[in-house]
Assembly symmetry: C2
Homo-oligomer: 543 residues x 2
């Protein structure tokens, strides 16, 4: 599978340089590319215990993303899934270690143990105080002699980092790290393998299955389990962690292994929070990608029983945006829905003249149903006539319920009626039109001004402009001419509608997706409807 890289060889160095460009001077790297890839804090005080971590790349944001005040001092980066060399680790140690010494935080993989271990020995020959802890939080195989280090490492980074930042000495920081390592347990589940740059992708997980207990280097999980839902997945994972959870308050870390969507991670969080498999999970780190395995579509959960001191260290603020914080799990806050969702029913009032006018408008659309459908069939799905006729029928049925004696309320009521009875975009647009006309009328505008204000709102929301081959091409000239006379408006609407037959490049509405030759010679059905309306009214009122 293609990836946005240049070469496999330059991948990690280019990525580090990219990240350093937005580090605002907080971070720097050592000048020893490509073999030594070490990122260090710029604002580092060697009177404090330095924390050096790292390992193979492909686990981003680990480890560079966690360098900064209150977490790591330096990260030693190998190539993707490959341990950094002894020299690289030694360079990292030498770059940041002062009188307070250095703690190496190493995930339990043979290459990392050996290379960090030998680098530590070399550093000691220079008189540097170096301690090393090895994280082995993976509980995938309970009797595995050498459990792997996975996302639980983040707890070590954060707790040891906050302690070191506070000025604690090496023994204290190391002891705290060891306590976390002793207590933390993690396990992961994935629906797919990861894509290692330069290597063919392995499709080893069958549909309907998931791997449980996987490492973070694309190695197979220890077990292939049936996959059904987020609920079941979280149950299985928590069930495996339960024997290690102990009593008392716990923090869970919900890690995205890289390719899981944020929607899925949020659903998994919901299942974790609702679950009673493990008691007393009071706090959560995540959900976020923290210790990833490239693009793996999976997640892991780490559980750490904590005392008050550890909790405070976990919750102390840091500047790195990749650390999602440690937050208390609470019930979702729920507010009642606000009043006003059910529109106020207009108070009916009588006005025979207005009632007749509304009925006349409706009759015009009822009569035009077939013709408008035929016209619409040229450029769309042939239902403009039926849509308008349906709305007209509903409006006629509702006439007695309308506030006919109050024009402002009447406009709003028609808008409401149309939004409830007329489907599709046109129903919403007409509802917006009448609502906006009512608003404008209530502010004291003349009838024509109010109609124009409604038209402006329809253009704003719908995005159509004159010349776009829509009903606006008839309505705009009609409203411009209306102050002269209804007859003038009808003439202008007709001219506008006829002009749409010449517009072959529609720029808005559904016709914008239709080929030009299918449009030529046919009026836009919306514009035609407007022309028919004004012509009909003009004829009727003139009689």
């Amino acid at each position: 599978m293609a990836q946005f890289i240049n070469t496999k060889e330059a991948l990690v160095t280019e990525a580090i340089d990219g990240l350093l460009r937005t580090a605002s001077g907080r971070l720097a790297r050592l000048d020893a590319y490509p073999h030594i890839k070490v990122v260090v804090r710029e604002d580092w005080d060697k009177c404090k215990v330095a924390l050096v971590s790292g390992g193979g790349s492909g686990h981003e944001p680990a480890h560079v993303g966690f360098i900064g005040k209150g977490m790591l001092t330096a990260a030693v980066c190998g190539d993707v899934f490959a341990s950094p060399s002894v020299d690289a680790v030694l360079a990292g140690i030498l770059a940041v270690s002062g009188p307070a010494g250095c703690l190496l935080i190493v995930k339990n993989y043979t290459g990392d143990r050996l290379n960090f271990g030998l680098a530590a020995e070399r550093a000691r020959t220079y008189g540097i105080k170096v301690s090393m802890v090895i994280v082995d939080d993976d509980v995938a195989l309970p009797d595995l002699p050498q459990a792997r280090g996975v996302a639980g490492t983040l707890f070590v980074h954060k707790i040891a980092g906050a302690l070191a930042e506070s000025g604690a000495d090496l023994d204290t920081v190391c002891a705290a790290a060891k306590r976390v390592i002793k207590n933390v347990a993690s396990i992961g589940m994935s629906l797919d393998t990861c894509t290692v740059p330069g290597s063919p992708r392995e499709d080893r997980i069958a549909a309907g299955k998931a791997e449980l207990g996987l490492g973070i280097h694309g190695e197979s999980g220890v077990e292939l389990v049936d996959f059904s839902t987020a609920l079941d997945s979280m149950y299985v994972v928590l069930d495996r962690l339960r024997p290690y959870a102990g009593n008392g308050p716990k923090v869970a870390l919900l890690n995205n292994l890289g390719g899981t969507t944020q929607l899925e991670m949020a659903v998994l969080l919901e299942e974790l929070a609702k679950s009673d498999v493990i008691d007393d999970i009071q706090y959560l780190v995540g959900p976020a990608p923290m210790m990833t395995s490239l693009d793996m579509r999976g997640f892991s959960v780490s559980i750490l029983p904590v005392n008050n001191e550890e909790l405070a260290l976990l919750q102390s603020p840091v500047a790195m945006s990749d650390w999602p914080g440690c937050k208390m799990l609470t019930m979702p806050g729920i507010h009642p829905i606000p009043d006003g969702l059910t529109p106020i029913k207009p108070i009916p009032s009588a006005d025979p003249k207005t009632a007749a006018f509304v009925a006349q408008c409706c009759d015009i659309f009822l009569k035009a149903e077939t013709d408008l459908n035929a016209l619409d069939a040229q450029s769309g799905d042939g239902d403009t006539g039926s849509t308008l006729a349906g709305a007209a029928r509903a409006l006629k049925d509702a006439i007695d319920r309308l506030p006919l004696a109050d024009l402002t309320q009447l406009y709003r009521a028609i808008g409401l009626e149309l939004s409830q009875t007329m489907g599709g975009s046109s129903g919403v647009l007409l509802a917006i039109f009448f609502s906006a006309v009512g608003d404008a009328a209530s502010s004291g505008m003349s009838n024509v001004e109010a109609l124009k204000a409604g038209l402006a709102r329809v253009q704003e929301v719908g995005g159509a402009r004159p010349g776009d081959r829509t009903m606006i091409d008839a309505l705009t000239p009609a409203l411009d001419a209306l102050p002269d006379s209804l007859a003038a408006a009808a003439t202008a609407a007709r001219a506008g509608a006829e002009h749409t037959a010449q517009i072959v490049k529609a720029k808005a509405g559904r016709a914008s997706y239709i080929s030009e030759d299918r449009l030529s010679g046919y009026n836009d059905p919306g514009a035609e409807a407007v022309a028919l309306l004004f012509e009909g009214l003009s004829k009727h009122l003139a009689v």
Copy 2:
């Protein structure tokens, strides 16, 4: 492709509830599930202009992730890629709008325009001041009549949000939003489509190709282009944005469309920063997933020319961890590599007795080469003898360069020599052993104590314990017996080595991957080597 969800129908409501559980009381939702999915700020002061955004889900962290002080006041969430209803938008407006009014920030999709537009009309009938802006930043098709709203929307959220938080009135906030919309331009590129929950995945992008100018709902890009590298991809994208970039300082927003790894995003950032296609990109938002399209393996770049006021608004801090900040693009900071990477060469010194002892040890291993290889072939790749003999040869050759007269320096020098000449884990472990013995000796320990300290370090780094079927099973009893006599040590080492033949379940080292019946009856080759060493020395020195 399977996903960590329960049902498609409950996906968005469960995800929202999950997120609310870690919102520390900052956020709440309205009590109108499942049809109305509205998340609001808890700490909201209605004297300020409310910012309401939203649309279909599947773009996480947009929009819920950007609710909070200095950005959005509420988000109205539809189902995946589906516009929320008019009622839902109205509920959102009513829940957060006070005397200062409300700005709706809508991405340019028909459903969103209409539903937000009609909701605005309805809200206005209640006397609420509502303005609406429509973001259309996608420049994929320069003559597209209705450009889509994509990741540039984030600039509107942040700038309008910071202004509203500062107490600006609705007209000012709206004008600022409109200026951003007028100036911002975005375009995306993807290597794969996205997986819509409940729908079959469409594999429409051939190998070697990428889609350019795609929307955020899985719709096809406007163009299929050749894909080669991150460099070329960034060039194509910036080239399309150049006509809209104007003069003066600019901010780029580098958005992960969901499924791109952090390594790739960092490489793309590096290419963006190095590129001279667009002048004067001084600041960067990202790289981060901000406006995603589920798990799409792609990215987008948005460019906004800014004035000083806008820059300050973009850079003002917010609490939401999903907003990655707006950072100045700088050159990567580079430090010289620290002194000490090249180990100090020991000063040779003569001591005939020590020289003879070292040579004797080497000869023992040279003599045992074939036998140890044969033994190793039972459980490994048959090279233990060759590995040790190779190291022995190198050490013999180096005898004249060793600091033979200074035991502390000698141990360290042997460690260094072994780490440089002996491959594999065993070379690193022996180097660690001798280095640690040297360290211990330098602190004044006796020879036996120093050797034991070295053994302890090897156990710490290598992870093996007595009983794990390694050389430790011979070395531990040998060192325990050594204060008595060399002969006693040899006897103990032999007993330890013989005992390994009974250990059929190896717990460390390569033999832990070997089936039990292949191990039974054969001594561990490492333990055997230790026994041979002590036996040889005992015999020789006794003569």
